[in-house]
């Protein structure tokens, strides 16, 4: 059991990196606290798996340090770090039975056979593998194999952490859900630090207490699913989290108003001041589709928009709107009437986010 600290960590696969783009992991600091359930979320190629392999010791970082409970472990190979990792595709030892597979990590460190038996039976029970224990691992189905892979990580009760690298990729959707809950259950039962890599926000938010969103080799935000949703730190998090992603409008302050292109936006004084103060040519206002108010009739402070079309998704629908020449998406609950033709919008100030050079800047609402 350990707290895992990453200190000025950076990694590149090139021998002669020139620019930040050459780095798979750009310099970063991060702490995974003991006993937490974390997700590492990001699109393919953002460096998630690289980061995971650095933590487990399969890769040695180009610079910076990895600390387990304050001790630098950079040079320790995976076998000395006491860490478990589950890979995207099931890795099982074909010729062994399921029982021997599960016992393998324990027997490798000469655990007494009685203890091995106890642990294997416990883990098999949790993963519902007990009926298969005597079977050759080769003949299992893909999801059973993946359960065996996970079991080999879980069977070691003394591990510092268990790392999951998109472990449910090969699993059927229904079983996916079940296995994810199983993992959550296991986490609650054993209180082991778990880091779960995925590109699926739903998977991340159902599993993890806190999610680290990665983008271009950096953790751009680390927070609870709710924080990521309500206050994305970075425009990327806004796009990536939520379905559909956040609306962003490029804005500038001109003639005492906040302009998006040629359209004047109806926003409060606090927002206006913040935009005026921002000293940059890259200023964006962000708002979640869920928080845009859509009215069929003109309202006070409302901006007229054209409704292009609506997409009915059952319990809610997404309407596609055009404000001036900016496209927006808004989410309408099923009990609300879906407007057609013309509508009026309002951006509630408290849900507007200001992004200067892609990073969030707090707005002082008086």
């Amino acid at each position: 059991m350990a707290e895992i600290t990453l200190k000025s960590l950076a990694h590149t696969y090139l021998s002669d990196p020139r620019s930040p783009e050459d780095y798979a992991i750009r310099e970063m600091d991060h702490v995974w606290h003991q006993g937490g359930a974390y997700a590492l979320l990001g699109p393919s190629g953002c460096g998630k798996s690289t980061l995971l392999n650095i933590i487990s010791g399969l890769l040695e970082p180009s610079s910076g340090e990895v600390l387990f409970d304050g001790e630098v472990v950079n040079a320790l190979p995976p076998e000395a770090r006491n860490i478990a990792q589950v890979f995207q595709f099931p890795v099982i030892y074909d010729t062994m039975t399921v029982y021997d597979n599960l016992a393998f990590p324990l027997r490798n460190v000469k655990t007494p056979e009685a203890r091995v038996h106890e642990r294997v039976m416990e883990v098999a029970d949790v993963l519902e593998l007990t009926p298969q224990l005597k079977r050759k691992a080769k003949n299992l189905t893909a999801d059973e194999k993946q359960k065996v892979s996970m079991g080999r990580g879980l069977v070691r009760d003394d591990v510092s952490a268990i790392l999951f690298d998109e472990p449910l990729t090969v699993i059927d959707p229904q079983l996916k859900w079940k296995l994810r809950r199983k993992l959550k259950e296991i986490h609650q039962r054993f209180q082991i630090t778990m880091v779960y890599v995925t590109h699926d926000q739903l998977e991340a938010s159902t599993f993890a207490d806190k999610i680290a969103v990665m983008y271009e080799g950096q953790v751009v935000q680390f927070g609870t699913p709710r924080e990521l949703f309500e206050a994305p730190n970075h425009t990327f998090v806004g796009y990536f989290i939520g379905s559909p992603g956040m609306n962003f409008l490029e804005v500038m302050a001109r003639d005492g108003a906040v302009m998006a292109g040629e359209t004047e936006l109806a926003v409060g004084q606090g927002v206006h001041d913040a935009v005026t103060r921002a000293n940059s040519t890259n200023i964006k206002l962000g708002i979640r589709p869920e928080f845009i108010e859509v009215h069929a009739e003109p309202v006070d402070g409302g901006m007229p928009v054209e409704v292009d079309h609506a997409q009915d998704l059952g319990t809610y629908s997404i309407v596609y709107l055009t404000l001036g020449n900016i496209s927006l998406k808004a989410r309408i609950e099923e009990d609300q009437a879906t407007p057609t033709g013309q509508a009026w919008l309002r951006f509630p100030d408290e849900y507007l986010g200001l992004y200067v050079d892609e990073f969030r800047v707090e707005i002082d609402h008086e």
């Binding site: 392999n53 076998e79 860490i83 990792q85 890795v91 393998f104 050759k136």
Partner: protein, 292 residues
């Protein structure tokens, strides 16, 4: 894979079948024909039945050759298979070194068999050969034309030199097809080097090893050119293997009947051993499935 039942597939097989039949069935029929006759000349021949077979099976020189052949085949297999696996494990996996080592290791396989014999003849001669000369300088009276032990050891060394690369090549290729994740998982599971070999590498090598062992058994059982060039079968008949006995009888002495009978016995021995080996392996794999 679920295969479709379709007898038109025979059309795809047909050209291959005709060619192989031409090279295999017609000559085999000739052999069978000879084996039951006594041929004096083109027009005079007698039907002898199983006479030649009986004679061949009771011939002590041939019995000795068969034993010698088995001893040879088993010895080279016992050396070449573990050595080949070891070499495959040692071979570099990346970069120019991988290509270079691959080419160097494979080289002996692509040398015509009698040239292999010549190379070793040149290498081991006491007067002009590096190995023969060195051994003599070191005080060992090395002489493959007089000492059967030296002749045997040299032929086995030559075969190891010649054929270990085949096992190494097949195993290397088999090893390369193991995904990295397996090695990574094994490190995470704190598996020892031995455990990695035993539970990851060896299981993945089973198939190529079956093929390697079969090919090696068949070829070692048919060995002809290399010992013929190197020792000529001597000293005495200590390194005369089956192929050489057969060619001497058929071409040298023109004993058509007996040599044909001998051919068939020879062929059947190889078939039988291979079949036993093959079914044994297949049964082992089947049992695995049944346990499930």
């Amino acid at each position: 894979m679920n295969k479709v039942y379709n007898n038109r597939a025979w059309w795809l097989i047909l050209p291959m079948l005709l060619l192989v039949a031409f090279s295999a069935i017609i000559p085999l029929m000739t052999v069978v024909n000879y084996s039951v006759q006594d041929v004096f000349d083109a027009h005079t021949r007698f039907f002898t039945g199983t006479e030649w077979f009986k004679e061949m099976l009771n011939d002590p020189t041939l019995q000795a050759a068969v034993l010698r052949q088995f001893a040879f085949s088993l010895t080279v297999l016992a050396i070449e298979v573990p050595l080949g696996i070891g070499i495959a494990l040692l071979m570099p996996k990346k970069g120019w070194q991988a290509s270079a080592v691959l080419i160097l290791v494979t080289m002996p396989l692509l040398i015509p068999w009698n040239v292999v014999g010549s190379i070793w003849q040149i290498f081991t001669r006491g007067d002009i050969g590096l190995m023969g000369w060195s051994l003599r300088e070191l005080g060992y009276g090395y002489n493959i034309t007089a000492s059967p032990v030296d002749a045997w050891a040299t032929i086995i060394l030559m075969d190891v030199w010649h054929w270990t690369p085949l096992i190494a090549l097949l195993c290397y290729s088999g090893l390369r097809s193991i995904p990295d994740a397996y090695y990574q998982a094994a490190r995470i599971d704190r598996a020892s080097k031995w455990a990695v070999f035993r539970y990851i590498q060896l299981p993945k090598l089973t198939n190529v090893l079956v093929i390697g062992v079969l090919l090696r058994f068949m070829h070692s059982f048919m060995i002809y050119a290399e010992p013929f060039v190197l020792t000529g079968g001597g000293p005495g008949s200590s390194t005369t293997f089956l192929s050489q006995s057969l060619t001497t009888m058929a071409i040298g002495q023109q004993d058509l009947g007996p040599s044909a009978a001998f051919s068939l016995i020879y062929f059947l021995i190889i078939l039988l051993v291979t079949w036993v080996f093959y079914t044994a392996i297949m049964n082992m794999q089947k049992d695995d499935n049944k346990e499930a």
